[in-house]
């Protein structure tokens, strides 16, 4: 579960291993502080999410924050590197197009979408783990899906509806 999440967030093995390593170290260090009334998986998810954010922060410009409106605007205008959805669509697979677009999402949106869509966490659980208001998490999800819809539409146009 740890590696899968790390890979979904990072999009490459190099960073995924880095994140997974951070997670295991944090688990080891903080196992003593695990609250027995908490779900182990929830606790682990929280550590993974924070490790993803920490990893991104370490590789981002000074002052970067994943969930502020300013950061979202900056990130929205600064796509992550990688081929765009239209380039991907020519490759054929809609899933690949969407994965590429997920990799281009701002990190906050990517994390929220991954945790909700792939892992099935409730928005309240995600908000709790990230220390955010639930409304913020809803907006992140909405924004992420909005961009994926746009990618889906582009792919359909590009492939003449075959995707």
């Amino acid at each position: 579960m740890v590696y899968r999440l790390a890979y979904q967030f990072a999009g490459n093995h190099y960073d995924a291993e880095d994140i997974a390593q951070d997670v295991f170290i944090k688990v080891f260090r903080s196992l003593d502080r695990f609250r027995y009334d908490a779900q182990l998986t929830s606790w682990l998810y929280r550590i993974v999410m924070n490790a993803c954010i920490d990893h991104k922060r370490r590789h981002a410009p000074a002052g970067w924050a994943p969930f502020t409106e300013d950061a979202e605007l900056r990130m929205a205008n600064t796509p992550e590197e990688g081929p765009g959805p239209e380039d991907q669509a020519y490759g054929g697979q809609l899933g690949e197009v969407l994965e590429a677009e997920i990799a281009r999402l701002p990190p906050g949106q990517r994390l929220v979408f991954t945790m909700r869509h792939h892992e099935g966490l409730k928005l309240s659980e995600i908000a709790d783990a990230l220390g955010l208001a639930e409304g913020t998490v809803k907006r992140q999800l909405h924004a992420a899906v909005h961009r994926l819809r746009a990618a889906l539409t582009n792919a359909r146009v590009t492939t003449g509806g075959a995707a």
């Binding site: 579960m1 590696y3 899968r4 890979y7 979904q8 093995h13 995924a16 291993e17 997974a20 390593q21 295991f24 170290i25 080891f28 260090r29 196992l31 695990f34 027995y36 009334d37 779900q39 182990l40 998986t41 682990l44 697979q93 809609l94 899933g95 690949e96 197009v97 969407l98 994965e99 909700r116 869509h117 792939h118 892992e119 099935g120 409730k122 928005l123 809803k138 907006r139 999800l141 909405h142 899906v145 994926l148 819809r149 889906l152 539409t153």
Partner: protein, 267 residues
């Protein structure tokens, strides 16, 4: 075209993901009947789900080889100040922490998460049996060659013990992963992942068990047999068998597998 009041709201996403209260679901249901744009948005979400469901799940380093990752992790943990503190704590004696852990475990077990509790308890016992101290010691030995008596001569048995200890360390992560899952809430992908991991360990486990039997290393052979049983039960289970994880967890607990693996790996 009429203006849709939900155009800029997250309601359709929340509806799709089952995050709306019942009253709001009814409201959105009614809205969908009359709004083609929102029906399209909902269809898009289904299309996204279908498309992503077909993508391969990447849940391990390339070629499934964890050895490099484990080496780097061991080195990172051994260099961590917190790890040193933990080693000290372990070294000062584990009786009191063990008792405290047992009490806390009993409280946890008395609550509803009995199976998960077993996993946590096992994890604590493993830590108290000093897995990290062994890793740290290995690193220290590598960094500071011994100056005292000549090192022990490596024999086939000692070499087998070394490789089986490494195998048990790798396998322990999988076994702990299995004990930590909640059978009622485990994502199908997680269960599939664990089954696949178990399958990758099976051949080596069988090989080490046979080698240990041939050389009369009964303790290694026994723990490998128990591990093999758990790996077979896990990897051969049907993906849709909801009871399989519970059976595997009972098996691990019944055979006290995590502790046995730790003891044999530490010998």
């Amino acid at each position: 075209m009429t203006h849709c009041e939900l155009l800029d709201a997250p309601d359709i996403e929340l509806y799709f993901y089952g995050e709306l209260p019942q009253a709001d679901r009814v409201r959105v249901d009614a809205h969908l009947l009359r709004c083609a744009a929102c029906r399209q948005r909902l269809d898009d979400l289904h299309a996204i789900r279908r498309a992503l469901a077909d993508r391969p799940v990447v849940d391990a380093p390339p070629t499934g080889d964890w050895s490099g990752f484990m080496r780097r992790l061991g080195a990172a943990v051994s260099q961590s100040p917190s790890a040193d503190q933990s080693v000290d704590a372990v070294g000062r004696g584990s009786a009191v922490p063990a008792a405290r852990t047992s009490i806390r475990f009993a409280a946890a077990a008395a609550a509803m998460l009995a199976i998960v509790g077993v996993g946590i308890y096992a994890a604590f016992r493993v830590r108290e049996a000093a897995p990290i101290s062994r890793q740290t010691t290995n690193v220290e030995i590598a960094a500071h060659p011994p100056t005292g008596p000549a090192p022990a001569v490596r024999t086939p048995d000692s070499s087998l013990r070394e490789v089986t200890a490494e195998h048990l360390e790798r396998s322990k992560l999988v076994v702990l992963g299995l004990t930590a899952l909640d059978p009622k809430q485990t994502h199908a992908g997680d269960w599939q992942y664990e089954r696949r991991l178990a399958g990758t360990l099976l051949d080596d486990t069988r090989l080490y068990r046979e080698m240990a039997q041939e050389r009369g290393m009964d303790d290694v052979a026994r723990v490998m047999r128990d591990l093999e049983t758990v790996l077979i039960e896990t990897s051969m289970s049907e993906a849709t068998d909801r009871e399989a994880l519970s059976r595997v967890q009972r098996l691990i607990a019944k055979r006290d597998l995590v502790v046995k693996m730790q003891l044999v790996a530490a010998n």
